[in-house]
């Protein structure tokens, strides 16, 4: 407990004014200009009507002080439960500024809160404080109240990419949308890698989209430093070996070399592989390898099976029986296609992803870590040429008919105080697919 408290109180001091954030040497050291992402916050995007513009709400460049006491936050509704019931995630309003925030409250005395979760939480707060990047989800503040740890973060009202897929895009997102999202994720990854860390759990649930279309990477709990480890402390190590036994949900995204757990180990390129799987997840709507037991997935990955995007070029045409039996080389795509076809109309068979996208995924999913490009190399890939404008603006338009959660009709102004109705509505929206959040 005391360790955590000290961590939190240091974090309290760590809230930096916006100028220092933007001018920090770390960020300027990054080779990729971050200007477009930064400027999004100051000028409201045209897609938003004036009433929806909340002046001081932007987490990356606001001067707002978020108080370290519960009474400043109005809890609206519980969105999710995580960490075996020890953690609840709430949608809340910061009373002084009247802005939405998400609050993760963890009961530190909860029986299921074991050592791993505990240290994981500490590590996560640490990492979030360490990183300052426009595409990494920051925390407004963290504090301990009673026996609860509160983590106040900006509310990402479009939810995660996984949420979007589950609720609206069961066959996958459009290519341009994916390009917008992946470019921002790559910017974040490039930054994390240059800081000497490996993220280790890049996946759809860890990519959040804000009301303004800002894409944020989260899930820093599993990030690990390339410094130290073993007996060679305080030196940059060539490879990492630690294997997390608690990340069963992340197995399909793990790279072969990470799963192999041999003396060679893994490095930052494991994130590139995970990004490739994430690309397939976003495009196909289903996660590659998720239709098989973990042991089989391991075998497939070690044998170099490469997932791919499902479109007319990679999928056999179902109408043509002869083709079905002949199109034997669709990799794991084949079996997944059938499962998605069961559910919905024949979209995946008709769409065509660009050759650049196919190549991007191919590069990311190389079996040999050394054959994969780095994050900064990938940022110059021709796949991202289609992202002409600032991706945030773009995203809002691309997602157009879908409204962020906070824009639910009649939402804040319910005259008859029937907040329960709204809660029910929100719960319906949000809890549908994930009883247990995996951070």
């Amino acid at each position: 407990m005391s360790v955590l408290c000290s961590c939190v109180s240091r974090a309290r001091v760590g809230i930096s004014p916006p100028d220092t954030v933007q001018a920090s040497p770390i960020q300027s050291a990054s080779t990729i200009p971050l200007a477009p992402a930064e400027s999004d916050h100051t000028s409201p995007s045209p897609a938003l009507s004036p009433s929806e513009v909340i002046p001081a709400s932007c987490p990356w460049c606001n001067m707002t002080e978020y108080q370290h006491e519960p009474q400043y936050y109005h809890i609206i509704v519980r969105i999710a439960v995580a960490c075996k019931g020890a953690t609840s995630v709430f949608l809340a309003k910061h009373r002084p500024t009247d802005t939405f925030v998400s609050i993760r409250r963890t009961n530190l005395d909860h029986f299921s809160l074991d050592y791993d979760i505990y240290t994981g939480l500490q590590h996560e707060i640490h990492m979030t404080r360490l990183f300052h990047h426009g595409h990494i989800l920051p925390y407004h503040c963290t504090f301990v109240s009673g026996n609860e740890l509160w983590i106040v973060a900006p509310f990402m009202s479009f939810g995660s990419c996984r949420d979007l897929i589950n609720s609206h895009f069961t066959d996958g997102l459009g290519e341009t949308t994916i390009a917008c999202i992946l470019r921002d994720v790559l910017l974040a990854l490039d930054y994390i890698h240059k800081m000497g860390y490996v993220h280790r759990s890049v996946k759809g649930t860890h990519i959040l989209i804000s009301e303004r279309g800002q894409v944020c990477l989260t899930g820093l709990r599993h990030s690990i430093s390339m410094m130290g480890g073993g007996y060679c402390r305080w030196e940059r190590v060539g490879s990492l070996h630690e294997y997390h036994c608690n990340s069963i949900n992340t197995l399909p995204w793990f790279s072969p070399e990470l799963l192999e757990q041999n003396l060679i180990g893994y490095d930052t390129s494991t994130d590139i592989y995970s990004l490739g799987i994430t690309a397939c997840e976003l495009a196909n709507g289903i996660v590659p390898f998720s239709d098989m037991p973990a042991t089989q997935m391991l075998l497939e990955k070690l044998n170099g099976t490469m997932p791919r995007l499902l479109d007319a070029t990679t999928l056999p045409n179902v109408d043509d029986d002869a083709l079905t039996s002949a199109g034997g080389d669709s990799g794991i795509g084949g079996s997944m296609a059938t499962s998605s076809m069961m559910r919905s109309e024949q979209l995946p068979y008709q769409r065509v992803f660009s050759p650049q996208f196919h190549e991007f995924v191919f590069l990311c999913l190389q079996r040999e870590p050394a054959d994969r490009p780095t994050a900064s190399q990938l940022l110059t890939h021709s796949f991202f040429k289609q992202v002409r404008r600032k991706s945030a603006e773009n995203l809002i338009e691309l997602l157009h008919p879908i409204k962020p959660l906070t824009e639910t009709p009649h939402w804040p102004k319910d005259a008859d105080g029937s907040i329960e109705n709204n809660i029910a509505k929100i719960e319906e929206l949000d809890l549908k697919d994930e009883e247990e959040w995996d951070f």
Binding site: Y115, G229, G230, Y231, C232, L240, H241, E242, Y243, C245, N246, S247, I248, N249, L251, L259, E260, Q261, N262, L263, I264, G265, S290, D291, M292, P293, A294, T295, Q296, L298, L299, E300, L302, T305, P316, V318, T324, S325, G327, G328, D329, S330, G331, I332, G334, S335, A337, T338, S339, M342
Partner: protein, 440 residues
């Protein structure tokens, strides 16, 4: 009955869960009450022995949720094998203990029981972590599932030129040994058998202290660290034990053994030797030894401090840790001594040995062959009464290759995949459905 609590009830598929519940009532005392000596750590088996197994096809075998891999070593108490946790895909090592064998070793069952009790409550990066304990009442076997280590200091020393490490490498291991010992002592535990053979390495080079079979938990209500018994390896025993004193100070025993270990790692020799245990103990009791000059003044001073004849004058753990040799940064003048490749596989990366078994589990084979085997599997299941209540932790017969869906992925035709969920009856498809449910 601390042992029963960690039975992996929550992770077992439903059929097994009942079995496990049943196991909960098993009397562990019945399992463990014979006599036996210190458990030696695993020895490499001669590669000639393994040739026998090579042509045989590797059959997948599951113990609970674990898939068995190759043999890592064998000792008097049983085998050590590699395993793979089929749920989180974590590599594990398993000590397989047979009751029959344990009985023949003096204090055998007692030592195992104590080791389990101690390992259960310990949690430190330099102490081996006991993950799981499984029992098979029928076969009279016990499985201690532990974190996987790629190798040990002993095998590295044996393969190293001059049978010693470069100073910087020995320093790294020694510092980790001190940290691990410090934790053990803080928990009131005397290891009593510190030696290179009981120091293993994880894939990232983290040192792990293993084999608490002869360790002693001090009585929390009695001040001091007075011990009476020792079953450690003779060459690493301090004079007070060699001379056969009735009581001695426990913490200082570990310091002495760590001193001998350091001596061994840095010089490739032992401070005391003898043709037989009596000569050896005589030499230790006399306490005359030399430190090679190449060690330098700092290391010599540390070794002298740790190998003090009188326990009272011997360094404490703290004195060792703040000793200048420990605090010094030793330049990497020589390359590290690597782990030698395993004798049978000659794989320098020490990759998973479960892969052939995975292939047996999921690999694609000839179509007819597969069908035949599947049929046989069903018959086997019927015969063995799989899933019947009351059969305690039945060891699974070798799993048959998976249903067609897994192979169809390779062959492509998407139509087979849809039928697979209905058509397949092999055991594994059950496991599979459960696991896929969990994922969603």
């Amino acid at each position: 009955m601390a042992v029963d609590k960690s039975l992996p009830v929550e992770v077992s598929p439903p059929q097994e869960r009942e079995i496990m519940d049943h196991m909960g009532h098993m009397d562990e005392m019945q399992f463990i009450n014979d006599e036996e000596t210190g458990i030696p750590f695993f020895h490499r088996v001669d590669s000639a022995d393994l040739v026998l197994y090579a042509p045989r096809k590797k059959r997948a075998k599951m113990i609970g949720k674990y898939l068995m891999g190759d043999l890592l070593g064998e000792g008097s108490y049983g085998k050590v094998k590699e395993m793979l946790d089929s749920e989180n895909l974590c590599r594990r090592a398993v000590k397989i203990l047979k009751k029959k064998k344990l009985r023949k070793i003096p204090n055998g069952e007692q030592n195992v029981k104590r080791e389990i009790q101690l390992l259960r409550k310990l949690r430190h990066k330099n102490i081996i972590h006991l993950v799981d304990v499984l029992y098979n009442e029928e076969k009279q076997k016990m499985y201690l599932v532990m974190e996987y280590c790629v190798g040990g200091l002993q095998e590295m020393l044996e393969s190293a030129p001059g049978k010693k490490f470069p100073i910087w490498q020995a320093h790294g291991y020694f510092c980790q040994l001190m940290e691990g010992l410090c934790y053990l002592h803080s928990q009131g535990i005397i290891h009593k058998d510190i030696k290179p053979g009981n120091l293993l390495l994880a894939t990232d080079g983290t040192l792990k202290i293993t084999d608490l079979g002869v360790a002693e938990q001090l009585d929390l209500y009695i001040p001091g660290d007075v011990c009476r018994t020792s079953q450690g390896s003779p060459a690493f025993q301090p004079p007070e034990i060699a001379l056969g004193l009735e009581t001695f100070l426990g913490f200082k025993v570990d310091i002495w053994s760590a001193g001998v270990t350091l001596y061994n790692m840095t010089t490739g020799k032992y401070p005391f030797e003898g043709d037989n245990i009596y000569k050896l103990f005589e030499n230790i009791g006399r306490g005359e030894y030399t430190i090679p000059e190449e060690c330098g003044p700092l290391l010599t001073d540390l070794l002298r401090g740790m190998l003090q004849h009188e326990p009272e004058q011997r360094f404490t753990l703290q004195q060792c840790r703040i000793h200048d040799w420990c605090r010094k940064k030793h330049p990497r003048t020589e390359p590290a001594t690597p782990l030698p490749p395993l004798p049978d596989t000659e794989d320098p990366t020490r990759s998973m040995t479960v892969v052939p078994y995975l292939e047996d589990l999921h690999g694609d084979q000839d179509y007819e062959d597969e069908e035949e085997e599947e049929e046989r599997a069903i018959q086997e299941m019927v015969q063995s009464g799989y899933g019947r209540r009351g059969e305690a932790c039945q060891e699974d017969p070798p799993l048959e290759p998976d249903d067609k869906s897994s192979t169809s992925i390779q062959h492509g035709p998407a139509t087979t995949a849809s039928t697979s969920s209905i058509g397949s009856k092999s055991r594994f498809s059950k496991v599979r459905k459960i696991s896929s449910c969990k994922q969603q």
